[in-house]
C-alpha cells in the first residue's frame, strides 16, 4: 500500500478532505484562494460597496479626470465616472466571461480527450490530428476575425474564448486517460459489464478530475488576459459596459495626465491572474492524483 493510506494523518478521510488538509497548510495557495473568493464577493456585492453608477456620466467639466481622493479612491475617468466603481462592476464581466469560457473549454475538451484516449487506434489518431490542426491556428487572429465579422457581445466573447481553448484540455485529459485505461480497475469495471459510456464518465473522468480542476484554474488567468487583450484592442466587451481591459484601453489616451484610469484596472488584472495561478498551483500540490494511484 502506497500513499496516504499509510500515515495516520489521513486515515478515515476521503480523497477530497485529505487534499483539503494539505491545501490549508499551503500559505500561497490560501492567499490565492482568498484573492479569488474576495473577487467573487466584490462582484456580487458591487452595488453595496459603492454609491456610484458604473455607466452614467458624471458632471463632466467638474468631475472629469479627478485624482484619487477619499470620495473617489481610484479617481475618475474622462466621462467623470468613478474608476473604483467601474473596477468593481468590471469584475463581474471578467469573472463571468473567464468562468464560463473555461467551463465550456474544459467540459468539451475533457469529453473529446477522454473519448480519444479510451477509444485509441484510429479514432484517437483522427481526433488528435484535428486537435493539432486547430492548435496551429493563431488564436488571437481567429478571435479578431470572428469579432470583426459578428459585432461584439459578452456571449460571443464567452463562446469564442471557450471553443478556441479546449484543445489543450483535450490533450491533457487524453494523456491521463491513456495511463488509466490499462489499469486493473477499468478492466474490472468492464468485467462487471459496464459499457463504454459508463467507463468514460464514471471511472475515467472522475479519476482525472483533480487534474482537470487544476488545469482549469490555471487557465482562467489566461482567459482573463485574453479578454483584457480583446477589450484593449476595442474588440471585446462593447462600451459602456465596464471591463478591465477596455478600461486600460480608455485610459491610455490620458496616461501621462491621468495615470490612475489605466493603472488601477491594470493592477487588478494582474492581481486576479496571480490569485488564480496561486490557487491553481496550490490545488495541484494538494490533489496531485499521482500520490494515490
Amino acid at each position: 500500500m502506497r500513499g496516504i493510506g499509510q500515515n495516520g494523518e489521513s486515515k478515515g478521510r476521503g480523497l477530497w478532505s485529505a487534499g483539503w488538509a494539505r491545501f490549508r497548510d499551503n500559505r500561497l495557495a490560501m492567499t490565492g484562494a482568498v484573492i479569488v473568493l474576495l473577487l467573487y464577493f466584490v462582484a456580487i456585492l458591487a452595488p453595496i460597496l459603492t454609491p456610484y453608477d458604473p455607466i452614467e456620466h458624471g458632471d463632466i467639466p467638474r468631475m472629469r479626470y479627478m485624482q484619487p481622493n477619499p470620495q473617489h479612491l481610484f479617481g475618475t475617468d474622462k466621462f467623470g465616472r468613478d474608476v473604483f466603481t467601474r473596477v468593481l462592476y468590471g469584475s463581474r464581466i471578467s469573472l463571468t466571461i473567464s468562468f464560463l469560457a473555461v467551463l465550456i473549454s474544459v467540459v468539451f475538451g475533457s469529453v473529446v480527450g477522454a473519448v480519444a484516449g479510451y477509444s485509441g487506434g484510429f479514432i484517437d489518431a483522427v481526433i488528435m490530428r484535428i486537435v493539432d490542426a486547430l492548435m496551429a491556428i493563431p488564436r488571437l487572429f481567429l478571435l479578431l476575425t470572428c469579432v470583426a465579422l459578428f459585432s461584439g457581445s459578452i456571449w460571443l466573447i464567452v463562446v469564442l474564448l471557450g471553443v478556441t481553448g479546449w484543445m489543450a484540455t483535450a490533450r491533457l485529459v487524453r494523456g491521463q486517460i491513456l495511463s488509466l485505461r490499462g489499469q486493473d480497475f477499468v478492466r474490472a469495471a468492464e468485467a462487471l459489464g459496464a459499457g463504454r459510456k459508463r467507463i468514460v464518465l464514471k471511472h475515467l473522468i472522475p479519476n482525472t478530475l483533480t487534474v482537470i480542476v487544476v488545469a482549469a484554474t490555471l487557465r482562467i488567468g489566461g482567459i482573463i488576459l485574453a479578454e483584457a487583450a480583446l477589450s484593449f484592442l476595442g474588440l471585446g466587451v462593447p462600451p459602456p459596459t465596464p471591463s478591465w481591459g477596455q478600461m486600460v484601453f480608455e485610459g491610455r489616451e490620458a496616461l501621462l495626465g491621468a495615470w490612475w484610469v489605466s493603472t488601477f484596472p491594470g493592477i487588478i488584472i494582474a492581481v486576479t491572474v496571480i490569485g488564480y495561478n496561486l490557487l491553481g498551483d496550490g490545488l495541484r500540490d494538494a490533489f496531485d492524483p499521482r500520490q494515490y494511484v
Binding site: Q183, F185, R187, A189
Partner: protein
C-alpha cells in the same frame, strides 16, 4: 466426487488467442478445450505465461485489442457461443452470468469511489433497483463476504482498507448478481498467507451456498488441492493434463504435472532442496519441435521431438498430452 451426471455449464473448444508483437504473432492460447460443469469447482493450473489468464480473459472477451485477438474456437455457455455475441449482449453476460475476480485487489478498485459505491454500481449495472434498495443490497453483499462492520465500511475508500478487505469487496462485486460461473484469477496470490486461507475458505463456502461453478486459476497446486473437484494443467498455451483431483495427485500422467507435484513442500518430510523442473517456460515464438515440454522433460525420447502428442485417455475423466501414454496404450 462430482462430475459424472453434471450438466455442462461452460464448454471451450479449440480456443485460440493470439497477441501481436514486434517479433511476430504469439499464440498465447493454442487450441484449448475443456469443460466446467454446473456447480463444479475446477482448478486451472500452470506457470506464469502458460496462457491461463489469457484463457480466462478470452472467456469474458476482455482481451485488449490491439494487441490481442481471439482467432478461433467456441466458448459455449448456457446454450450460446459467447464469441459470436454482440458486444452489447456480452455486456449482459459479464458480471451477471459470469464474473471474474482479479489478482490485485487494490488496483482493481476505483480509487476515487467508496467501496460501497462500487458494490452498488455492480448491482445497479444488471438489476433494476432504486438507490436505497441497491445500497441495502450492497451492504448485504458486504455482510455476505464477512466484511467487518459493513455499514461503516460501505463509506471507506479502497486505500483505507487492508488487502484482504479489498479482495472481499471484489468478491462482493463479482457475486452481487449471483453469477452461474465465477472465474477467480489468482484471487489470493497478492495476499498474506493467513488472509489467503480466509479468502479461499470464503470462496468455498460462498460457492456452496450460491451453487455456482468456480474456475480457479492459480500457479499453486497446493491451493488447488484443498478446494477443487477437477484440475486442468496448462503448459505453453495448451492443456497438458486434465483429471479429477484425486486421480491427478495419485497418478499424474504428464511429466510436467509430476514436476509440479514434486515441487510442493510436504509437511513432516525433511528435504534439503525442493525438486524443481529444469529450465524455464519456452519462448512462445521459439517453441521446441514436437511436444512443447520436450526440452525440459526428464522422460523425453525420440518421438517427443518429432510430433506434438494429442490428448490420451488415462482413465475416466483423466486425460494427458504425452507420448508415453501412446507407448503404453500401443503395447
Amino acid at each position: 466426487m462430482k462430475g459424472i451426471n453434471m450438466e455442462t455449464l461452460l464448454r471451450i473448444e479449440d480456443l485460440e488467442t493470439v497477441f501481436r508483437s514486434d517479433d511476430g504473432e504469439v499464440k498465447a492460447v493454442d487450441g484449448v478445450s475443456f469443460e466446467v460443469g454446473e456447480g463444479e469447482m475446477v482448478g486451472l493450473v500452470g506457470e506464469s505465461g502458460c496462457g491461463k489468464s489469457v484463457t480466462a480473459l478470452s472467456i469474458m472477451r476482455l482481451i485488449p485489442d490491439p494487441p490481442g485477438r481471439i482467432t478461433g474456437g467456441v466458448v459455449r455457455f448456457g446454450g450460446r457461443d459467447l464469441l459470436s455475441l454482440s458486444e452489447k449482449e456480452m455486456r449482459k453476460v459479464r458480471g451477471n452470468e459470469i464474473s471474474i475476480v482479479f489478482q490485485e485487489p487494490l488496483s482493481s478498485l476505483n480509487p476515487v469511489f467508496t467501496c460501497g459505491e462500487q458494490v452498488r454500481e455492480a448491482i445497479a449495472l444488471h438489476q433494476k433497483l432504486g438507490r436505497r434498495a441497491s445500497k441495502e443490497k450492497a451492504i448485504e453483499m458486504l455482510r455476505l463476504v464477512r466484511m467487518p462492520d459493513p455499514e461503516k465500511r460501505y463509506k471507506s475508500y479502497p486505500h483505507q482498507m487492508s488487502g484482504g478487505m479489498r479482495q472481499r469487496v471484489m468478491i462482493a462485486m463479482a457475486l452481487s448478481c449471483e453469477p452461474k460461473l465465477l472465474i477467480a484469477d489468482e484471487p489470493s496470490t497478492a495476499l498474506d498467507v493467513s488472509v489467503q486461507a480466509q479468502i479461499m475458505e470464503l470462496m468455498l463456502s460462498l460457492r456452496e451456498s450460491m451453487e455456482m461453478a468456480v474456475l480457479l486459476i492459480t500457479h499453486d497446486l497446493a491451493v488447488v488441492a484443498q478446494m477443487v473437484d477437477r484440475v486442468i494443467v496448462m503448459y505453453a498455451g495448451v492443456v497438458v493434463e486434465e483429471a479429477p483431483l484425486g486421480s491427478l495427485f495419485e497418478r499424474p500422467a504428464h511429466p510436467y504435472t509430476e514436476g509440479l507435484l514434486g515441487s510442493i513442500p510436504k509437511l513432516g518430510s525433511r528435504v534439503d532442496r525442493l525438486p524443481s523442473i529444469e529450465g524455464s517456460v519456452p519462448d512462445p515464438l521459439r517453441l521446441p519441435p514436437g511436444c512443447r515440454f520436450s526440452d525440459r522433460c526428464p522422460k523425453r525420447f525420440d518421438r517427443c521431438t518429432e510430433a506434438e502428442p494429442e490428448m490420451f485417455t488415462v482413465s475416466s475423466g483423466h486425460r494427458s498430452r504425452c507420448w508415453l501414454l501412446a507407448e503404453s496404450e500401443g503395447s
